[in-house]
Symmetry: C2
Subunit: 216 residues, 2 copies
DNA sequence: TTGTTTCAAACAAACGTTTAATTAATTCAA
DNA sequence: TTGAATTAATTAAACGTTTGTTTGAAACAA
C-alpha cells in the first residue's frame, strides 16, 4: 500500500509533468477508465509508448498524479488549527476560505479524487484518498470541539458539520454544467474563475456555519 | 435526446428487471466503464448475449436503468411544496426527510447518478440528470423564497442553501467506506441500514437549516 | 563509447456486439 | 385437445475494435 502523504520529493522533467497535467484534466473530465492512453498521448502530443516508459503503467500514472498534486494541498489546515492567535470562529472562517480556495483553484484534481471515492476499484488508491479526508475531518473536528468546550460554540455534530462544509462546496464544484444551471444559468459563466461566485460561496458558508455554531 | 421524466410505463419481465438491478449495483460500485458486460452477465447469471438482446447496447442499458429507477423517485417534492397545511419551515423539514429517505433507500442509484454527473461522457444522460437536480432545486428554492416573503425566514442564498442540503447528504452517502471512517469507524456499521445514523443525519440537517433560515 | 529518449509496430487480452443455430413458448386451425 | 406453424428466448462461438503494454530499432545525449 502506497502512501503519498509521506512521499519524498521527486525530480520531474517537463515532459513528465506535462503528461501528468494533461492526464489529470482528461481523467477528471472523462473518467479514468473512460480515457485511453492513446487519447492521452494524442492530447499531450507525445508518443504512446512514453506514458509507460515514464510511469510504468496506467495505474501507476494515476498514483503519480495524486502523489504529485497532493503535495500542494497539505498542511494548511493543521496550521490554522494550531494558530493560537485565532479563536474558534476565526479558525472556522479560515478553514472555509482555505477549502474554497483549494477546490476552486484545483477543480480537476478535486474531481479526480471524488471519482475515485465514488467508484471502488483500485483499493489502495481508494483507501489513501479516504485517509486524506478523514485526517482533514479530524482536524476540523478538533477546532469545533475546542469551540464547544470554550462555550463559544453550541453543541453540534462535529463530523456532520464538516460534511456540511465539504458537501456544500462539492455540490457546486463537482459538475460545472450543473453549477451553471443552478446559479441562474447565465451564459459564459465559469464558476471556477468567477470571483463573484467564489465570494458568494464563502459568504454562504460563513452564514451557515456561524448560525449553526454560535451561541445565539 | 431522451426524456425519462415523461416516459410511459413499460412492461418488464423478471429477467429484464433482474439484469437492471444487478447492473445498477455493479455500475455504482465499479463505475460504468469499469464493469464489462461479461462481468454483469456472470454476476446476474444470464448469458452474455441477453444484455444486448434485451437492451440493444450497454449505453441503452444505462438509460434503461435510469428510466426504470427514476419513476420511483418523482413527485414527492412538488407535493410538499404545494401542501397548504404546512408553513415554510415544516415544508423544509419534510424536504429534508424526503431527501434523506430517498437517498438512504437507493444508495446505488444515487451513486450512479453522481458518477454520471462527475464524468462528462454520454452527454444526453448528463443533461437529463442535471435537469432532475435543477428541477428539485427550483422547487426547494420556491419554498425558501416563500418563507423569506412571509418573513419567517431570513434572507439567505436559496440555491446555495439547497446545495448545503444535498451536499451534506452526498458527502456521507457517496462513499460507504469514508462514511464509516468519519462516523467513529465502528466495525460492522452500515450507514445505509443503521436507523440511528439516519436519525442523526436528519437531526443535523434540521439543526443546520433551522439556525440558518429562522429569524432569530 | 555509454546510457537515455523517442518512435512505429506489434502483442495478447478484453471489450461491445453480432451471428447462426437451438430450445422454449405461443398461436391457432383442425 | 392436438400438432404443426410461428414467434420468442437462449446459447456458444465468433466478429472486428480497442485496450494496456512491450518490443526493437533509431535518434539523441553524455
Amino acid at each position: 500500500m502506497f502512501n503519498f502523504a509521506a512521499s519524498t520529493p521527486i525530480l520531474m522533467n517537463e515532459k513528465k509533468e506535462h503528461i501528468i497535467d494533461t492526464a489529470m484534466e482528461l481523467f477528471a473530465e472523462k473518467g479514468f477508465e473512460g480515457c485511453s492512453i492513446r487519447d492521452l498521448a494524442t492530447k499531450a502530443g507525445v508518443n504512446l509508448a512514453m506514458v509507460n516508459y515514464y510511469f510504468g503503467s496506467k495505474d501507476k500514472l494515476f498514483e503519480a498524479i495524486v502523489e504529485h498534486k497532493a503535495r500542494f494541498m497539505r498542511g494548511r489546515l493543521d496550521e490554522i488549527a494550531a494558530d493560537s492567535k485565532l479563536d474558534s470562529l476565526q479558525k472556522m472562517d479560515a478553514v472555509i476560505e482555505s477549502y474554497v480556495n483549494k477546490i476552486i483553484s484545483n477543480p480537476s484534481f478535486h474531481k479526480l479524487l471524488y471519482q475515485e471515492l465514488l467508484v471502488n476499484e483500485r483499493n489502495d488508491m481508494h483507501d489513501a484518498i479516504i485517509k486524506i479526508f478523514v485526517k482533514n475531518t479530524q482536524t476540523v473536528r478538533g477546532i469545533i470541539e475546542q469551540g464547544i468546550r470554550k462555550k463559544q460554540f453550541r453543541k453540534v455534530d462535529p463530523q456532520l458539520t464538516m460534511a456540511t462544509l465539504m458537501g456544500t462546496i462539492n455540490q457546486v464544484m463537482l459538475s460545472k454544467a450543473m453549477c451553471v444551471m443552478l446559479m441562474d444559468g447565465q451564459e459564459n459563466f465559469d464558476p471556477y474563475t468567477d470571483t463573484n461566485f467564489k465570494a458568494r460561496l464563502v459568504r454562504h458558508l460563513k452564514q451557515v456555519l456561524h448560525s449553526l455554531l454560535l451561541n445565539k
